[in-house]
C-alpha cells in the first residue's frame, strides 16, 4: 500500500491551502521586513506542495509539476537574496528593518 492510496488528495491540498493562508497572514501582519519575506516564502512553499501533490496524484508520468517546483525553489531563493540585500541597504542608511518606518513617499 502506498501513500497515494492512504492519504487522499484533498487532505494534501488542504494542508497546502492552510500553509498558504498562514504565509499570507504573516506577510500582511508583520512589521519586520524579514518577517514579511518569510511569509512570502511560506506562500511559495505552499504552492510547491500543491504542485508536487497534483503531479503525484494526477499526472505521475509527466514531470512538469516536479520541474515547476524546482524552478519555484530557485526563484524564491533569488527573490529572498535580493530582498535581504535590500534590507541590508536600508538598514545601513536608516538603522531599521521595519516596513512601516520606511514611508517617505506618499501622496
Amino acid at each position: 500500500m502506498n501513500m497515494v492510496d492512504a492519504v487522499p488528495l484533498p487532505w494534501v491540498l488542504a494542508v497546502a491551502a492552510g500553509l498558504f493562508c498562514i504565509g499570507l497572514f504573516g506577510a500582511l501582519s508583520r512589521r519586520n521586513t524579514v518577517g514579511i519575506l518569510l511569509g512570502v516564502e511560506l506562500m511559495l512553499n505552499a504552492v510547491n506542495l500543491n504542485l508536487i501533490a497534483f503531479w503525484r496524484y494526477l499526472e505521475p508520468n509527466v514531470v512538469a509539476g516536479q520541474v515547476f517546483a524546482l524552478f519555484i525553489i530557485t526563484v524564491a531563493a533569488a527573490e529572498a537574496a535580493v530582498g535581504l540585500a535590500m534590507i541590508i541597504a536600508i538598514y545601513r542608511t536608516r538603522l531599521t528593518v521595519n516596513a512601516d518606518e520606511v514611508d517617505s513617499l506618499k501622496g
Binding site: 531563493a77 535581504l84 541590508i88
Partner: protein, 118 residues
C-alpha cells in the same frame, strides 16, 4: 491502512523515549544541590551579557544570501544526476555551460568584494 501508520507510531514512541527515559531516571537518581553559579546560563564559561533576543548584525545576512543563491542552484544538478545515464553527452555539455555561468557569477561576486567582511 491504519496498521501502516502504527509502525510510524511505534517508531515515534521509541524515538521519543530515548531522551525522555534517561532524563526521568536522572531526575530521581541525581543529588539536587543548586547554587547561583550552577543555575546561570551556560555560555562557553563566560558570564552571559544581556538578553538573547537581540537583532543580529545585518552583515551576517550578506554571507547567508550569497550562500543561499549558490546552494539552491545545486537543485538543478539533482534531476540531471538521476537521469544522467539516459541523457548522454548532450546533457553533460549543457550542465557544463550551466556551471560555467555559475562560476561567472562567483567571479563577479569575488571581484566586487562581496566575500569580504566589511
Amino acid at each position: 491502512m491504519l496498521a501502516h501508520y502504527a509502525f510510524i507510531g511505534v517508531f515515534f514512541i521509541a524515538a521519543a523515549s530515548f531522551p525522555i527515559l534517561p532524563l526521568i531516571g536522572a531526575y530521581f537518581l541525581r543529588p539536587s544541590r543548586p547554587t547561583e553559579v550552577k543555575l546561570d546560563t551556560y555560555e562557553c564559561g563566560l558570564e552571559a551579557i544581556g538578553d538573547i533576543w537581540v537583532q543580529f548584525k545585518v552583515q551576517y545576512y550578506l554571507y547567508a544570501l550569497a550562500f543561499v543563491v549558490f546552494d539552491i542552484e545545486v537543485v538543478f544538478l539533482y534531476p540531471w544526476a538521476v537521469a544522467f545515464n539516459q541523457l548522454g553527452l548532450f546533457a553533460l555539455v549543457e550542465m557544463a555551460i550551466f556551471l560555467f555561468i555559475l562560476i561567472g557569477g562567483l567571479v563577479y561576486a569575488w571581484r566586487k568584494g562581496a566575500l569580504e567582511w566589511v
